[in-house]
């Protein structure tokens, strides 16, 4: 088996990278970070996997179909939070409507976590889609693929 050291290192690093992504994701409303950065870090873990094990292996773990759905779900999470606040009587993305009784704007926290989650999912899946498309590109495009 070739590149054994690289592959073992990647396997060891994979989980901490994902964990770091989740940390950046959920710490985003208190400190630097947020959905965008977390999504990129999350995608990096899979890109590293693809570098060391080949694109086909990564695609088995995370197929393009799932990424497309994740992109859609991400945007819907964001816009859906806005829709929910509208249904609860606030304006679009008016998070205070989520918890109107709160004295310290707890609704703002809930709202931003939901929205950032949507951003994270969407960014991670879009990053990976771009990566898949560039690395998986065949030198010549089949005329039928237009």
């Amino acid at each position: 088996m070739q590149h054994l050291i690289l592959r073992v290192t990647t396997k060891i690093l994979f989980t901490p990278i994902i964990l770091f992504a989740l940390y950046v994701q959920f710490h985003g409303d208190y400190g630097p970070g947020g959905g965008f950065q977390a999504g990129v870090i999350f995608a990096v873990a899979f890109i590293l996997h693809a570098f060391c094990f080949g694109l086909e292996e990564t695609k088995k773990a995370l197929p393009q179909k799932a990424l497309t759905i994740a992109m859609v779900v991400g945007v819907l999470f964001y816009a859906g939070t806005g829709l929910a606040t509208m249904l609860l009587g606030g304006n679009f993305l008016g998070y205070d409507a989520i918890d109107p009784e709160s004295t310290h704007h707890a609704g703002q926290h809930y709202g931003i976590i939901l929205v950032e989650w949507g951003v994270g999912v969407c960014v991670a899946s879009t990053m990976l889609t771009i990566f898949y498309l560039f690395t998986g590109r065949e030198p010549d495009i089949d005329p039928e693929d237009w």
Binding site: T68, I69, M71, V72, V75, L76, A79, G80, G82, L83, M86, L87, L88, G89, G90, N91, F92, L93, G94, Y95, D96, A97, E144, D145, W146
Partner: protein, 502 residues
């Protein structure tokens, strides 16, 4: 949720929620039907908004309940409302029309992506129109442009030149957007605010180099987006090689929205006490408008390709709008707004007729149009009627906007501009007449590729096309509808630009 309180945000939220779902729909008819439903809902919301604004005045909606100028505000006066109705209305007509045309031009496997991108493009254009925040304009402008680049490049299945023209548009459009955002950044530096109403208040009396260069960056940036002569070079290729339905949608909406942004910055953000702007009107916008009217029209006369001819004609028509708004009078601004609305109607109808011809003959070169009157009579007459409207024949919308423009130019003391408008309309007679003559009087070359008998376009295309053609005549007779709204919008803008509060 009270529907009336949330109404201002609905034209954005509905397509924003529906567009991603398009990607998950099965390929074929479903994404199209979904997009049509979405455009109709957006249109209904826009009509409700314009009624509301017409009766009760300016609507202000605070996104996320953050009060402006800190938060993002959707601020809708009559001018935005008019453009909103225009964009969503054109979408509501072009999207049903698109099905057959798109089916023949784009791989069915790509149909969810195509209609998804089309909806995102619509969201972007509606968002630019509705927002009252300068930076938000940039964001929505990019949303609409990025999807537009993708839509244009999808024409690559028929003609690979779509790829280079989409790339060309991408470069030019990105330069335009960057210039715009640099300009907004400079204004932010000078004022510390991004809300346009607040910018207006804080810019009053400021006439320093930061503001001047901000103004210049914004004019050039938006000038690229609206294809102001001589920044129009991306437009002819992009319109020619894009899928026909995309051309019909973009020609009728994208440049109009950019013209709206220009008017918004000229008349709401800046005002007439900003001497630099008055100079720009006299020495830049007015001459470039007139130059565009003539040069682009003349170039259009010599085009072999009908789509490219109409694209150059669009550049010329933008010249009329720039001419109208550069007079800095209520009449001139009214004329610009009326022409913006009317030009969308006629160009939409013309490009839809071309799409019908492309569907049946497979080409948009002018040879394909020879002798079509006998085989595709409904398409031919739709083309001829909206062509007459483009020239400005009485009883059509084209006449109405030319009339407003003429009145405005004489009232503003630019009598020579009046003659130039008539003169350039005569050039339009030449290029429209050339194609009309081909369609009605000529026979196709019996040995050529277009000699075969052709069927009329399907009903699903004819009905939306004729809706627009009839709108061309209807708004040409009932001028008080567009003219009235535009005049009230222009009066409000003029008050603001002259230093009054809104």
């Amino acid at each position: 949720m009270s529907l009336s309180a949330q109404l201002p945000v609905l034209p954005i939220v509905i397509p924003l929620l529906m567009a991603p779902i398009t990607l998950l729909l099965p390929k074929g008819r479903a994404p199209w039907a979904w997009a049509v439903l979405c455009s109709w809902l957006a249109f209904a919301a826009s009509v409700a908004i314009i009624n509301n604004v017409y009766e009760f005045g300016v609507i202000s909606y605070h996104l996320g309940d953050w009060a402006p100028p800190l938060g993002i505000e959707y601020r809708i006066d009559l001018m935005n409302a008019l453009v909103l109705v225009l964009v969503s209305g054109i979408a509501a007509v072009v999207f049903p029309f698109a099905y057959e045309s798109v089916k023949s031009e784009i791989d069915e496997r790509q149909s969810p992506y195509f209609y998804g991108a089309l909806l995102i493009c619509m969201v972007g254009l509606l968002g630019v129109t509705i927002t009252g925040d300068a930076f938000n304009i940039f964001v929505f402008l990019e949303i609409s442009s990025l999807s537009a680049y993708a839509l244009i490049s999808m024409g690559g299945r028929r003609d690979r030149r779509a790829l280079t023209s989409a790339f060309n548009y991408l470069i030019m459009g990105t330069i335009g957007a960057s210039f715009f955002v640099i300009g907004v950044g400079l204004l932010y530096q000078a004022t510390g605010t991004l809300n346009m109403a607040d910018l207006h208040a804080k810019l009053a009396g400021q006439d320093n180099r930061v503001v001047q260069s901000g103004f210049a960056f914004i004019v050039v940036g938006i000038g690229l987006k609206l294809a102001m002569f001589p920044l129009h070079l991306w437009l002819p290729n992009a319109y020619t090689y894009a899928p026909s339905a995309v051309t019909a949608f973009m020609a009728a909406t994208a440049t109009k929205v950019a013209v709206y942004v220009l008017i918004r910055f000229f008349y709401t953000v800046f005002g007439f006490d900003f001497a630099f702007e008055v100079a720009a009107f006299t020495y830049v916008i007015l001459p470039l408008g007139i130059a565009g009217m003539f040069i682009a029209s003349l170039v259009a006369v010599f085009q072999e390709d009908v789509k490219r001819m109409l694209a150059y004609s669009s550049v010329a028509q933008i010249g009329y709008m720039l001419l109208g708004l550069s007079f800095a009078t209520t009449a001139g601004l009214t004329a610009a707004l009326v022409h913006m609305f009317n030009h969308a109607l006629m160009k939409g109808a013309l490009f839809m007729a071309v799409a019908c011809v492309v569907l049946r003959t497979g080409s948009h070169s002018c040879h394909a149009f020879a002798g079509l009157a006998k085989r595709m009579p409904y398409t031919t007459w739709a083309f001829v009627l909206s062509g007459l409207s483009l020239i400005g024949v009485p009883l059509t919308v084209g006449f109405v906007s030319k009339w407003y423009l003429l009145q405005a130019s004489f009232a503003a003391g630019h009598w020579y501009a009046g003659f130039l408008i008539v003169l350039s309309s005569l050039i339009a007679v030449v290029y429209v007449g050339r194609i009309a003559e081909l369609m009605i009087l000529r026979e196709p070359d019996p040995d050529g590729p277009y000699a075969l008998a052709r069927k009329e376009a399907p009903l699903s295309m004819l009905i939306p096309m004729w809706v627009l053609v009839i709108a061309n005549v209807y708004f040409g007779i009932r001028t008080e509808l567009t003219g009235g709204v535009a005049e009230r919008a222009a009066t409000a803008l003029m008050t603001m630009a002259s230093g009054g509060a809104q």
